[in-house]
Amino acid sequence: MEAFTVLKGVAAPLLRANINTDVIIRIERLRDLEKADLGRYAFESWRYRRDGSEDPAFVLNRPPYREARLMIAGQNFACGSSREAAVWALQSFGIRCVIAPSFGPIFYNNCFQNGVLPVVVPAEVVEDLAAEVEATQGEGKVVVDLTRCVVVAPGGKETPFSVDALLREGMLKGLDQIELTRAREPQIQAFQARDRERRPWLYPSA
């Protein structure tokens, strides 16, 4: 996994609440596309009109947001389906960080599996940040610094955020969770042996 330390870039504001993962990437696209090709279809039903042309009003079609590396979003961002492709679609578009008041819980975990950072800050901070970015027509860059756990607005105002230590370390070092857990195999074995003894009925007889 690619490590995440400091990211500076264009931040696209998309402040609707409850944006779901079906909207981030449509189910049909998961069938035949590779991860890296999903970006073209991120937010497809909002980005393209029925005839397939781009809707110039949609934020990701407007320069400089076309090159967005961050997204500023509304509450409960990426709720709904567990599809990890929602993360891959953002990543493939170029977005490696989403700043929002809250996230869909499965998406939140999925982000950390892929080196995409979800940053939770209060709704007022999100709104102010979006307004400040909009005021510069998107030219004002946003910085997310995971080493110091701060979001830096284009004008320099810093807002701290918190990420759990475990997830933060995994992101900073680009650690692989499966390998970390496999290192605990003796503990898992001991646990399983105890559980088998305590709840033998739980284990299907071969």
Binding site: A17, S82, P200
Partner: protein, 465 residues
């Protein structure tokens, strides 16, 4: 140790290791897979790893299969390779796969409780957000992403952060015609689609205790639409009666030991929750959604909201966008809205009780000439049971199409879609933009309400039928 909740009891007994900050490495006692799972097997193989405990993983076909009557794995050639690949991987790994036409095949959240793969007190995961459904059996169950599926296959564990706890208490006696679906849609309307974010929800109260297992599964199914990854109902005599003698349930002395254990699970009387909400079910009318989030819900005797009455700009814009997508006039009564499609199915409402409730409404009547209506049983066993009871004949005589078990029009794979601009009443769980097909307009409701809409050709109050 002080008073504990149902959630805490199950969580605590699955902690392999505390990882700090509220995180734990948790033992997974049951893992279910669906036909999207071949990717995970592949990823595992690429790492040179084997499935650690194939006997604790069970798989089925549901999402990508066609539900056309007489379907096979070859019905939709574009998806055939996926099914073949899943078969081959499951076989090689020694994972039990419930294949097409076999009792046990079905929507993963229908077949688990049906076979007794889902047991009270277990920690159950599946790479699907509606895994919260299994909480209706008194399991701690939640959906995971595809990287996490690989983690579970490799290690039989999962890393999670302990959520906050919410108790939603449903008190009172529902009026005739009010179902579990109406109860949970009402709660989502009251606390919002983000109201449960960060929480695990325990559903409690007399109205929950009075529900059969199927109703409890319906309630828990929509937990994720509240923003909660996990919802649950304490196991009780209803749960035990449902489980006894099912295919994968312990027998004889093992059964007695299991039930004794399960009786210790309910929340202690003085257990504390971070948030409490209460719903008086006596006040609920049959619910129907009007917009593009499950929180956009009203009683069928209610009106479509008018954005002009909403002060907050962000909320107002969301309403305007939703009404525009749905093609609805602000302030109009929701009843009377013409309907083109009806879908009775999905892991929310495709169990035998759901089909019985729809059949009661459909019996001896005809689907309106302007409506196409599908009934898609949740599993092969549900299908066989329904056919044994003659429900398929009731539906067919009324003009409904009777299909093979699977997810179908709930997620619109296989061209099983509602056409652009057309309006459907659906018993599923998501009315998102494009969920049932690009441009499709979805209204969520109970099976009886969906059947009533099919007959009337418009949204109607089932209580008047």
């Amino acid at each position: 140790m002080g008073a504990q909740t149902l959630f805490e009891k199950i969580w605590n007994r699955h902690v392999v290791s505390e990882l700090g900050d509220g995180y734990a490495l948790l033992y997974v006692s049951r893992h279910l897979m669906h036909d999207g799972g071949s990717q995970a097997f592949l990823a595992l193989k690429e790492r040179g790893l084997a499935v650690r405990n194939p006997e604790l993983t069970f798989a089925t076909f549901d999402h990508v299969i066609s539900t056309l009557p007489g379907r096979t794995a070859e019905t939709n050639p574009a998806l055939t390779p996926r099914l073949y690949s899943m078969r081959a991987h499951a076989k090689a790994a020694g994972v039990r796969l419930f294949d097409l036409g076999e009792p046990g095949q079905g929507i993963v959240h229908v077949m688990g409780p049906e076979l007794g793969l889902t047991l009270p007190g277990t920690l159950l995961v599946c790479g699907d957000s509606h895994t919260c459904t299994h909480g209706g059996m008194g399991a701690l169950a939640f959906g995971i992403g595809s990287s996490e599926v690989v983690h579970v296959l490799a290690t039989q564990t999962i890393v999670q952060r302990r959520p906050k706890l919410m108790r939603a208490t449903f008190e009172g006696t529902p009026a005739a015609g009010i179902t579990a679906k109406d109860m949970i849609l009402n709660l989502i309307g009251v606390i919002g689609a983000a109201g449960g974010t960060g929480f695990a929800v325990e559903y409690a109260g007399a109205a929950i205790r009075a529900l059969d297992i199927e109703g409890r599964l319906t309630i828990c199914n929509l937990s994720i639409e509240l923003g909660a990854k996990c919802g649950m109902v304490a196991p009780d005599e209803v749960t035990f009666a449902h489980l006894k003698d099912r295919a994968f349930v312990p027998k004889d002395a093992a059964w007695e030991a299991a039930v004794a254990d399960w009786r210790t699970l309910p929340s202690d009387p003085d257990a504390v929750f971070d948030r409490e909400v209460a719903i008086d079910v006596g006040k609920i009318a049959p619910q129907i959604t009007w917009g593009t989030s499950p929180e956009h819900v009203v009683g069928v005797d209610g009106h479509i909201p008018d954005p002009k009455t909403v002060g907050d700009a962000e909320r107002r814009n969301a309403l305007v966008a939703a009404l525009d997508y749905m093609g609805l006039a602000p302030g109009a009564p929701i009843a009377g809205t013409p309907v083109d499609w009806v879908f009775i199915g999905s892991c929310t409402n495709s169990r035998i009780c759901d089909l019985r409730a729809a059949a009661v409404v459909a019996k001896g009547r005809r689907v309106a000439a302007t409506v196409r209506a599908w009934v898609v049983p949740g599993s092969e066993n549900v299908k066989r049971q329904a056919e044994a009871e003659g429900l398929d004949e009731v539906f067919k005589a009324a003009g409904f199409e009777w299909r093979e078990p699977g997810c179908s029009m709930c997620l619109a794979m296989n061209n099983e879609t509602v056409p652009p601009g057309q309006r459907s009443v659906s018993t599923s769980n998501r009315n998102f933009v494009g969920r049932q097909g690009p441009g499709a307009r979805t209204h969520l409701a109970s099976p009886a309400m969906a059947a009533a809409a099919a007959l009337a050709g418009r949204i109607v109050d089932v209580r008047g039928m």
